[in-house]
Amino acid sequence: MKYLNINKIICYFILIISSIFFILPILWMFLQSFKNAKDTIAIPPKIFFSPTFSNYLKVLKNDYFWEATFDSVIVSLMSVSVALAIGIPFAYALARFNFRGKNEIAHFILSTKMLPGIVIAIPLVQTFNYINLLDTHIGVSIAHILLMLAVIVWVMRAFLQNLPIDLEEAALLDGASRLRIIWSVILPIARPGIVTVTALSFLFSWNDLFFGLTLGSFDVVPLPIYLTTEYIGYLAVNWGELSAAGLLSTFPIIIIVILLRDNLIRGLSLGAIKG
């Protein structure tokens, strides 16, 4: 019993130390977002100051911030839904059928996740320019699909493998078509897995800087690009507003995590146990 207590004390100690490490930059951002312009660049940095909401108000009143948010939402929704639509059927085929070349395709998809965007950026810009997709929502969304396809395919594959096959066989005997089986049998029971990959994919698209930067310019300015171009000048950074905008832009993620919390943990763990 004595061992147990020491063990717990060590655990708490480790957790507290690492919490400080992980929260420090966010705490600092939080403080910066309530400072006026003079306090943000004070030497030495101020921990005590008179807080102001002006940064948040300025950001919220800025039309461009809302346009960037709109762009980000459109791009994320389009890319996530298309990626799910082409990724889940393939994951299902991987999990349930044996056919030639399936592992090769699966490995290739995994390697797209690792491929840095820079390698394909230049030719992609040329191609998109040629077919008029440069600086459109569709263009950026197509590139974002690359970021999430590997996670969708591999996590959903592991997930679908864990589902019992009996239900599908019963439905097949009852004369349901295979597409119908996917739609009315597989998708409902695989919901936790789908929720998990959807949330992760959304995160990848929402946070992406590189493709937004190279494939969008005037008409499409997703949030990460907006934040880096609007508040960071050549000589100075508008710290207060940048921090406020940065914190505000995490709201959709927080909302998604809160809404999907139960499904999320279940999805992660179910998919995970078999790998």
Partner: protein, 285 residues
């Protein structure tokens, strides 16, 4: 369900068409740029000049070294830290969700914004980190403005950014281990740490492997944080292969060098994913 049918092909076609349409031209383009040479005497106009020049360059070797350093330390430390923190979270009862929220909060912040925040914190003159050090009576440090320590601190930022990802996946995995396994272990007098090492982690082998692979991939192609914090500097102390290829493409307009680096990365990528994919495949059967 193993009977012969064209159905799996139908399910596969969309994803294959998408990948081919998106990647075939970039790949051909990359290879042409890297190896095509009009002046070559070969039957097929092709030469290895760019390639040979690059691998003899000291700077490129440094780029490779930086990439390996960052990838290795960032991946291993954040992975181990993820396991340790997940274990600690699993052990405690009070304030568990409070700690969980704090520990995974870096995931919610856009990498660009958090990298910028780190940059100000690192600033030797007005950064908060030096103020804290001075408050406790230590000397201020140079952090990322010193050639010898810059890469280390970039690695620390990368660890900060991605440990939550490892923690989240591993913690979710630990939650799935049936309670009776833990109970029977504790009745047998095995302490919880040994139980983690000898029972829980082996059960979660596949999850750990997938976490490790995705983590490894993110470290390998780290871009945002390096670009924002040091732009590859000071000198080129933090210039990884990805950063280098960005510069050759968009600043010095030498896309052929980018292509060769790209092919390096591509070959490496395919080797790693083949290994990882086969490993996971073995576990499934």
């Amino acid at each position: 369900m193993k009977n012969k049918t064209y159905f799996p092909i139908i399910l596969t076609i969309p994803v294959v068409i998408f990948l081919l349409a998106l990647l075939i031209y970039p790949l051909i383009y990359t290879f042409t740029l890297a190896f095509y040479d009009e002046a070559s005497d070969n039957f097929i106009p092709f030469s290895l000049n760019v390639f040979n020049n690059l691998i003899q360059e000291e700077r490129f070797l440094k780029n490779v070294y930086h990439t390996i350093f960052l990838t290795f330390f960032s991946t291993s430390i954040s992975f181990l830290l993820g396991i340790i923190l997940a274990y600690c979270l699993d052990q405690i009862k009070i304030a568990r969700s409070f700690f969980l929220v704090i520990l995974i909060s870096p995931l919610a912040i856009m990498p660009v914004v958090s990298a910028l925040t780190w940059r100000t914190m690192f600033n030797p003159l007005y950064g908060i980190l030096n103020s804290i050090l001075k408050f406790f009576g230590f000397e201020g440090m140079e952090w990322v403005t010193d050639t010898s320590s810059a890469l280390t601190w970039i690695t620390v930022v990368d660890i900060w950014q991605w440990t939550p990802f490892c923690l989240l996946l591993i913690y979710a995995g630990l939650k799935t281990i049936p309670v009776d396994i833990k109970e029977s272990a504790s009745i047998d007098g095995i302490n919880s740490f040994k139980e983690l090492i000898y029972i829980s982690l082996p059960i979660l082998f596949n999850l750990l492997l997938i976490t490790l692979i995705f983590r490894f991939m993110e470290a390998f192609k780290a871009f945002d944080s390096i670009m924002v914090i040091t732009q590859g500097g000071p000198g080129n102390a933090t210039e990884t292969m990805v950063i280098r290829s960005y510069y050759t493409a968009f600043r010095w307009y030498k896309p052929e060098i980018t292509s060769v680096i790209g092919i390096f990365i591509l070959i490496f990528t395919i080797l790693c994913t083949r290994w990882a994919g086969t490993k996971i495949g073995e576990q499934e059967n």
